[in-house]
């Protein structure tokens, strides 16, 4: 672990407006419940609140079934929330009709995990990137082509790539195309759902570098959804950890890695193997027992109590609330003191 570093304050965009701007994204008590086929309700997302300031990168971390991708899909309205609200740039977009939402769509964009299934194989790269520019009338005629070439340059590709098709490019290059398309209308918010998980190690490094460079230059806010703690540490200012549809801990990145408070966060960090045999073989590993409970019937009390090595009677009955701790952190665990003293799940 390195020494904790101060987290840069949310960056202002160009500063065109003198009064304080609303956050690019405010999610309040978001719920997405599905009716299960056998009756009952799947509580995929169950009361999630996240705020992302201008130019801030927030990592949303969790394992399969935690509901992290559903949060992302609700934000960009690929999925309809069943409760709570989503504000983008201060506008409530939770239940806007497709038609009313359309002009606002230039302000937010999504990058998916698998670029080969999110790019239309019949279109050229140029057409793929130009589509949002034309739809949102950001440019016309020759200016579109110029803009496409500019974007290709920004993601490290050459102008002649515009005339190729997705299958002619490597996985890393295709993900660069997805990023170019996402940035084509200069959005304030980019939702990136596992953008590097399908890529090889060396390609992943270059795509992460690219995202970091562009984020710094363009200053968009970003919700970075991933299961990969190392990738999120590299990009995010702040990290929210999800378990079974709820946020269990939220903290500035360096603080979260230096001293995770929630036993689940501790287990998650201890389980991610470090690529160094000396260090890896001397680490305490917290092995979680039992299965991830079903979101159809989440456990009473703390949702993590069935797998938590430290669970007490109170954890089994009383639902912990997400509390504010000193240092801009939040945690929902009965065992964490109000001053931030946390239990050690490895002990």
């Amino acid at each position: 672990m390195t020494t904790p570093q101060t987290v840069p304050a949310p960056r202002e965009s160009d500063g065109t407006s003198s009064h304080p701007q609303p956050p690019v994204l405010r999610i309040d008590a978001l719920e997405r419940h599905f009716a299960a086929s056998g009756g009952g309700t799947v509580r995929a997302v169950d009361g999630v609140s996240i705020t992302i300031g201008r130019g801030e990168v927030v990592g949303l971390v969790g394992e399969s079934g935690s509901g992290k991708s559903t949060v992302g899909r609700c934000v960009v309205r690929l999925d309809e929330p069943t409760g709570g609200t989503v504000h983008i740039n201060g506008t409530d977009v939770t239940h806007l009709s497709r038609r009313t939402l359309r002009p606002l769509r230039k302000d937010f964009h999504l990058v998916f995990q698998d670029p080969s299934s999110s790019l239309d194989p019949r279109m050229t790269i140029g057409q793929i990137i130009a589509e949002p520019i034309r739809l949102h009338r950001q440019a016309r005629g020759e200016a579109v082509r110029t803009r496409v070439e500019q974007l290709l340059g920004q993601v490290g590709l050459r102008p002649e790539h515009a005339d190729r098709h997705p299958h002619e490019l490597s996985g890393g290059q295709r993900q660069r195309i997805s990023i170019a398309r996402a940035l084509s209308c200069d959005p304030d918010l980019v939702v990136a759902d596992e953008p590097t998980s399908a890529l090889d190690v060396s390609v992943q490094a270059s795509v992460l570098n690219l995202l970091a460079d562009l984020q710094r230059d363009r200053g968009f806010g970003c919700l970075f959804i991933t299961h990969d703690l190392a990738a999120v540490e590299y990009l995010a200012d702040r990290i929210a950890v999800m378990y079974l549809g709820q946020i269990v801990e939220q903290a500035p990145t360096a603080e979260l890695f230096a001293a995770p408070k929630h036993p689940y966060t501790q287990a998650l960090l201890s389980a991610a193997p470090v690529p160094d045999p000396v260090e890896q073989r001397s680490r305490e590993r917290i092995v979680l027992h039992g299965e991830l409970p079903s979101p159809l019937d989440p456990p009473p009390g703390c949702r993590f109590h069935t797998r938590c090595p430290l669970a007490t009677e109170r954890c089994r009955t009383e639902v912990p609330v997400l509390r504010e701790l000193p240092g801009g952190r939040q945690v929902s665990c009965h065992l964490v003191g109000d001053d931030g003293t946390a239990p050690d799940a490895a002990a």
Binding site: S202, L210, P277
Partner: protein, 371 residues
């Protein structure tokens, strides 16, 4: 190819149970020949874990499929694969069937596609035992319960009556391992066994593999792209690039003093959780070459900062790095200009100068669009 005796891991002794020599695999179609594996050799001793590492298309999975005799008929396999003294290259399907599941077994990345969805867990484990061990239904059932217990599945008596869809991903992978080790094979090939699993589940699977080699002395070939998994579980590591072996070393030597520029690039590019936080990651410029040709040159040369005429003029042998260490040194690499033993930085990028054969337009990698 004469092969030196490689030092095994501490506690592993004896003759190799698996010896691969100069293995090559190519696929021929009407228009092209793809050389997927080109000159791979390794030895595996009882109780040893050898990690085979590389990125997509490096040939690590094809190597394993060749060892299992599971390649399609279009594949042309050369070289030698000896399992307990028996040659597998060129063996008939009938002979291979006697070996597979009994002396050598394999687990795959996605357990759901390897398990039969309409048969109970108990039946699927029992099938192997009845076939190779001639057990009765009742004996097989009793042994299946023991095996589920061995791989850490709670309430095995109840679980053997269940179907694959009733289990979580981690539990399914444990069932796959139980099937694989049912006949106590000498060698287990695990091809990306934890890639489809969450990290907290992965930790449990790696512990099961560890306990197998300790309790049963199973030798394991662990095929993975994840250097964190390698650091956790391997005794020795073989790094592959574009179908060829580039470096092989005991795990601590590989991470501590990698000699091949590609290995260094890979180690530099990998993310370290709880590491330096926000920083620029070293990249490896350029793209993996096509496997259509077998150039008499180093295949990494176009992406390597240390490359010169020697690298483009001849293929480097896969040999001991330090001649003074003798021919049987456990650390070897295929490189004309390997890093020295004192270059212990380990994480630097091998090619900062961008030795690509095309002029660079923007100062970013990945732009050589040749595919």
């Amino acid at each position: 190819m004469t092969e030196a005796v490689l030092a095994g891991a501490p506690g592993t002794t004896g003759e190799p149970v698996l010896s691969v020599r100069d293995l090559s695999v190519s696929f021929r179609s009407d228009t092209r020949t793809v050389h997927a594996v080109d000159g791979v050799s390794y030895d595996l001793r009882p109780g040893e874990v050898l990690a085979v590492v590389g990125e997509s298309g490096c040939g690590k999975s094809v190597t394993s499929m060749a060892v299992m005799g599971l390649l399609p008929p279009t594949a042309r396999v050369g070289g030698s694969i000896r399992l307990g003294g028996r040659e597998l290259v060129g063996a008939s399907e009938k002979e291979l069937r006697k070996v597979r599941g009994k002396d050598i077994a394999m687990i795959f990345q996605e357990p759901m596609t390897s398990l039969n969805p309409v048969l109970t867990i108990g039946r699927q484990i029992g099938e192997v035992l009845r076939r190779h061990r001639g057990m009765s239904r009742k004996e097989a059932r009793a042994r299946a319960v023991e095996l589920l217990d061995l791989v850490g599945i709670p309430a095995p008596q109840r679980r053997i009556e269940e179907y694959p869809h009733q289990l979580s991903g981690g539990m399914r992978q444990r069932v796959m391992i139980a099937i694989a080790v049912a006949c106590d094979p000498a060698v287990l090939i695990a091809d990306e066994p934890t890639t489809a699993l969450d990290v907290t589940v992965q930790a449990g699977i790696l512990e099961v593999l560890q306990s197998l080699r300790e309790r049963l002395g199973t030798a394991i070939v662990l095929v993975t792209h994840d250097l964190g998994v390698v650091a956790d579980a391997a005794d020795r590591v073989l790094v592959m690039y574009a179908g060829r072996p580039v470096e092989q070393a005991p795990v601590h030597d590989l991470f501590g003093a990698a000699r091949h520029p590609y290995t260094r690039g890979l180690l530099g590019a990998v993310l370290r959780p709880g590491g330096e936080g926000k920083r620029r990651l070293p990249e490896i410029p350029g793209l993996v070459p096509s496997l259509d040709s077998q150039p008499d040159a180093c295949t990494f040369a176009p992406r390597c900062g240390r490359a010169d005429d020697a690298c483009t003029g001849g293929r480097p042998g896969f040999m001991s790095i330090a001649p003074e260490a003798g021919a049987d040194a456990p650390h070897r690499a295929a490189c004309w200009h390997p890093y020295g033993v004192d270059d212990r930085t380990g994480t630097e990028s091998p090619a900062t100068t961008g030795a690509t054969d095309e002029p660079t337009v923007a100062a970013r990698p990945d732009q050589e669009a040749g595919e």
